[in-house]
């Protein structure tokens, strides 16, 4: 899963160069240049060129995980993650466009579980397909579907051990969301534009077993058994706010 995700990301990153080299072969993915209508002000509509538009995003993702498996690590159901993404526009038809993204989200919650420190780090690596509809020069609506690989790493301190109990596991996730983007401004010769985006949706996810044992140590050759904490399904409502630059 991880490998596939990275391949997808690499493909997305490489796509602009490929489009440039292939010329007409990627014409279906790039709207044909058309003369822009005259505007009353200086603010242009979205760029329409032969080069795919690239978007870079950083922001925050908040996810509600109303799952008992999340309880040991947090006093409530909210997980805040840092979020980053890169994508490009692959189709543009009038005011509508389709973008493909590679994304990463990462965040940690910590709490005391029955007197012991417990933490859970959730990493999300995936892609996204987003459809945007431009409602004006400064505003668009979007809908997106984002499959991902989710990596969960739980850690619990045990006062009798010199190292924590750890659980690591992968599962799948699929985000379906809708949102909007607001143009904050543009700079530069190439017309880099800055956006504030916000989306809301729901994450579907597989269940992850949380089997804890101390990490291996050369100084402690004992064989350890696993302690099973409640399995986690990191699914639930999710929202994301990013600052994006596209050019």
């Amino acid at each position: 899963m991880k490998r596939a995700t990275w391949l997808l990301a690499a493909a997305l990153i490489a796509a602009p160069a490929a489009a440039h080299a292939a010329g007409p072969r990627v014409a279906v993915a790039v709207a044909a240049p058309a003369p822009a209508p005259a505007r009353a002000d200086d603010t242009p509509l979205p760029v329409k060129s032969s080069r795919p538009e690239i978007s870079l995003e950083v922001g925050l993702r908040g996810t509600l995980i109303p799952n008992p498996g999340f309880d040991p690590y947090a006093s409530n159901d909210f997980l805040l993650q840092a979020s980053a993404g890169a994508g490009l526009t692959v189709v543009r038809m009038g005011n509508a466009s389709i973008l493909l993204f590679a994304e990463y989200d990462g965040g940690t919650r910590r709490a005391t579980a029955r007197g012991q420190e417990a933490s859970l780090a959730l990493h999300r690596i995936g892609g996204a397909a987003e459809t945007r509809f431009q409602l004006g020069r400064r505003f668009y609506l979007a809908a997106r579907v984002a499959p991902a690989a989710l990596h969960l790493r739980g850690s619990i301190t045990d006062p009798t051990l010199d190292r924590p109990l750890v659980s690591r596991n992968w599962t799948w996730g699929l985000d379906a969301s809708g949102g909007a983007g607001l143009l904050l401004g543009r700079v530069g010769a190439r017309g880099a534009r800055f956006w504030l985006t916000l989306d809301f949706g729901y994450r579907f996810a597989g269940e992850s077993q949380m089997s804890y044992a101390p990490v291996a140590s050369d100084e402690d050759p004992r064989k350890y058994g696993s302690v099973m904490l409640p399995a986690i399904r990191p699914a639930g409502p999710t929202s994301r706010m990013t600052f994006a630059v596209s050019f």
Binding site: L60, G62, L64, P66, P68, F70, D71, P72, A74, S75, N76, D77, F78, L80, A111, T112, A113, R114, G115, Q116, I156, D158, P159, T160, L161, L165, L182, L184, L196, L198, F200, Y212, P214, R222, K223, Y224, G225, V227, M228, L229, P230, P237, S239, M241
Partner: protein, 529 residues
Amino acid sequence: MRLASLFLPSLLASAALVGCGGREEVWDSTPGAFIAHGLADAAALVDTSGERALVLPVKADLTLDPVSIPIGRGFASSATTADGKRLVVLARGDVPRLLPDDQGPLLSVIQSGAAPGLVFGYDLGDPLSGLALDPESRFAVVYPSEADTSFVANPNELSIVDLSAGPSDANPTPLTLRSFGGRPQGFFFTPMLGIPGGARRLLAVLTDRDVGIIDLSEPQKGDITVRLSSSGEKLVPAQIAVTDGDPALDDDARLAIRVANDSSVILVDLLPAAAGEATKAHSFRPTPNVVFAGGVPTDIAFVNTDGGLRLAALVPAQRSLTLIDPATGIPSSVALDAPFERISIVTGVVGATASGADMALLWSTSSASVAFVALGSTVGKPYKSVERLELEMPVAAVYDVPAPNDRLKILAGVDQRSFYVLDLIARTASPILASDGALFSVAPDGRRAWMMAPSQPQIAKLDLTSLHPKNLFLTQPVAAAFDVARAGGGRALLAMHATPNVGVTVLDGESPALETATTYASVLLGDLQ
């Protein structure tokens, strides 16, 4: 930008709203006191704040297969049945009960075996904390303990639970003891007795001034109170012994009640009830008779001598064993060389005398010796019947050893460091020394014993055939150790470490070695539903 400035507050607000869901209370709790029990094929941890019992069967590869079983709120007490097959847990429920879905008092019966789980859950009428179990694993008694401090309480209310049957209108059976001012202090379950009305078992309830006798086949009939004094003097029952007498007769079963700090022993004959008596609800009538032991006895037992059935009473102040004819109340005394305090009948191991009389083992917490008394030869020749075995240390406790090594008994010295493996047949006492105060646990298969010290990260296996000790160094002190059967055959030892969330080291019971052991940390974090 004004619109943009609304995004962040809205995100934070949504985060606050969606994140306000709380978590299960158990994660905010810390485990309560360390409570562990050994079952035949598992150990069990009582997780009081987690409101569950965590049963820990052992798989063939020395790993645990934990099963979490709810026990209700308000843990009060727990115990295992004598056969090691079940764990009985008493919970008081929510006190006070304010909401319709608050839990009431509950007695849970949990089985181990291949599929650990709740067998029966008995709803009780009152939140009581006292729990007594039948040594034959059939009955349980729930009673008010000193810890129960309700605004208004009746200390003589009991619930008798038949653990072999599920809950019903008649099970548990609540009853209130007839009281002359006393309250329950202890319980004694008799074996099956041939008494008027048919063979049945009785429950004797020791209060602080009398004894109530309950027919366990018909507990709803209530108790018959045996008052120990008619003069107003407060005599406190301390111990009960029982005999069925001649199995062919149903009118010679007897109880003997030892009275604390008194030379009296109350013999209670269980005779047929006469028509019109106050006890006519019962088919038998306890008839007490006071006999005197010649001094304050510290232990009593019915024994067979060549002169017939006798009540043996050890009187350490007189250094004697008094044998009382229960039919006539006439005592005879066997002089002893030491102030022996406790008696244990070992006829089943060493065999009866030629005349069919019992053999008794005597021991003392103040004299460094034990004695074997051949009761068959006491009549007329008392001194020749006693064989003493000198030790280095007085004996604080005696542990029985199951077959195939039931010829052995383990004597624990009062210093908690000296142990003796007493061979009842060879009449030898092999010393075993521990460097620190040690706890002792005999494996149910009788082949080995385990010694541990609460402050030492060590445990030792003592092979009861060769008496060879094997010391094992663990990383944590061992609070308790349970030798259990494991799946697929063989034995396992679960060494329990009383760390905050309890650690467990699982060793091969027959060939313990750290190389093959499996260690678990923070077990009480696991398997929470």
